[in-house]
Subunit: 345 residues, 2 copies
């Protein structure tokens, strides 16, 4: 929670107009992903699920939305600063997204990555023309390196989630999902969104509760990284300490900009274990023919396997289910699927 | 080519009106799959590719279109016959598609499968409520069993591709693709379609050449099952003998209803080897996050790797690329991908 931001005295870091502005800004730069349905999964869930597959988004994850919104917005307001570059620390989808957005905006991107990050991830970021700065794999080294690069380049640091432009960009997922579900004549009664740092969840929550307050917002979190669940149930923010889950995109804690929105506005939060997450991931590969990463399947796992959710969602006919991304090593995924088969047999 | 059909003196088994009628008939029963684009693959191909991912279709393949068209059409014209059931021999996607269509139309489905077919395929068909009739794994046994079941039940035999209703149903892929490409303001200059038995290719060709004769139709075939390529190049129909390719959905020969359309109307045909097919399959999993089977990637492999195609498609800016299906064993796919990495390193 090192980043603070001028939110001009507003109660929250973003409001609906920020999300709507983001939607206009990133149009044509990112995909308007389709919605999808699957009768087999409806039958298993006992209700109609309207999927928003952000694995089909650019760079394979919703992160492209926030990154493009941040870069294009800075280009509008501070073009000279943008020329100096954008900076972030991430070894995941945000790094690739920011690198791509910077390339499209013709500005430098500096990505700080731990020295022990897989070389395939470093190469992916370099493939988009970004500069990788390696550092020791500690929080301190990461932040120190980020500050050093900021000072050296004069560029802008863009936090992976605790940043209003990022949050507003991610909120466009909900904006599209609402519209598309209406077009398909399956207006939503609830939406399931996964939570890691909370950029996606806070952006979607502001959007949904502003436009359609009657639509329930349910968060989905892995049991092995249940800091948001514990924070909400105890009423006091707790960090993610030694998280351990296959949903490796959801290991981080929420930030001081994302958490207040989540705390005040979501309807409830549910957790699922790794076995349920893997089972849901495999179902989506098999039945929907989509490559999704385990983090993406946490929402579906809640819809299929969480008894508390089933009670909370009683009366909800059409439920939006966000798939966050699809960046997964195939061999690892298939190994997980096999483990499950062995456990089941 | 055991099935003949009354085509009422017309030159071809189907015409555009049959495809348009099929589109009306199957609407709401099958998915209108989206079109998708991928900048990385555009860069590799050197042109804009407009993908039609039929792996996202019901039962994971375009085969749902033909099967629903056949079943629903028979329900309109001969409801009493339909009650006796539909029959086919297939251990692939057509079997599942017909089983699903029959279930939705509340009629029996009888699927003849070789005794050595994987039990997972038999179970999938039984899962849709169909009856599986096992036979010896020979062409003679298969046809004899089909005739016996026809006689016993009074049901209708529906060939996997050499049937006008099936061909017209598959043609709806091209109808949608044309419309969607126009809507996206990327009108097509050419379309790449894979060929096995030719149901999909003949249906798409009639559609494209009737509506937009200037759009080029290019067929894509695996080198290890290149009977259509050899037939067209020699001017004489030759069967598929001992085919050997990873694209296991494209092993069959064209039929007497599908071949004449292909012979007269397509612009050209191109072949690719297994290594190119696996490479294209892997690219789609990685870059588009879609689970497709090797047969589906044969079109993209032609677009990326076939030098003759690149010459023939010169001047073609926007090219439609059909992905036929996504029914593949994950472990097998990942093993193929690894083989490729080893060959490349």
């Amino acid at each position: 929670m090192s980043v603070s931001s001028d939110t001009s005295g507003k109660k929250y870091a973003i409001s609906l107009v920020d999300v709507q502005a983001a939607a206009q800004r990133i149009k044509g730069y990112v995909h308007r992903t389709p919605i999808m349905t699957c009768r087999t999964l409806d039958a298993l869930a006992g209700r109609h699920l309207v999927f928003k597959p952000e694995n089909l988004q650019k760079v394979g994850a919703f992160k492209a939305r926030g990154a493009f919104n941040a870069v294009l917005s800075i280009r509008e307001t501070s073009p000279d600063t943008l020329k100096k570059g954008v900076i972030t620390h991430s070894s995941g989808n945000h790094a690739q997204a920011l690198a791509l957005a910077a390339r499209d905006a013709k500005c430098p991107a500096h990505i700080i990555m731990p020295s022990n990050a897989p070389s395939v991830k470093k190469d992916a970021v370099r493939g988009y023309g970004a500069t990788v700065h390696e550092c020791e794999p500690t929080l301190e080294a990461r932040e120190a390196t980020a500050r050093a690069v900021e000072k050296e380049t004069g560029g802008v640091f863009i936090h992976p989630y605790n940043n209003p432009l990022i949050m507003a960009g991610q909120g466009t997922v909900a904006l599209e999902l609402l519209e598309q579900a209406e077009e398909a004549r399956t207006p939503l009664d609830a939406v399931l969104v996964q939570v890691g740092g909370g950029g996606l969840l806070s952006g979607c929550t502001i959007t949904l509760k502003s436009l359609r307050p009657e639509v329930k917002v349910f968060a989905a979190e892995p049991k092995g990284a249940d800091d948001t669940y514990r924070s909400l149930k105890s009423g006091k923010w707790v960090p993610s300490i030694r998280p351990d889950t296959v949903a490796d995109g959801l290991l981080t804690s929420t930030g001081d900009l994302t958490f207040p929105i989540i705390k005040d506005q979501i309807d409830d939060i549910f957790v699922v274990d790794d076995r349920e997450i893997i089972r849901a991931t495999k179902l989506v590969w098999e039945r929907m023919k989509l490559v999704i990463e385990p983090s993406a399947a946490v929402t579906l796992a809640v819809a299929l396997y969480n008894a508390d959710f089933k009670r909370a969602a009683e009366g909800c006919k059409n439920i939006g289910v966000v798939f966050s991304g699809g960046n997964v090593d195939f061999e690892r995924a298939v190994t997980l699927f096999k483990t499950l088969e062995e456990l089941d047999s």
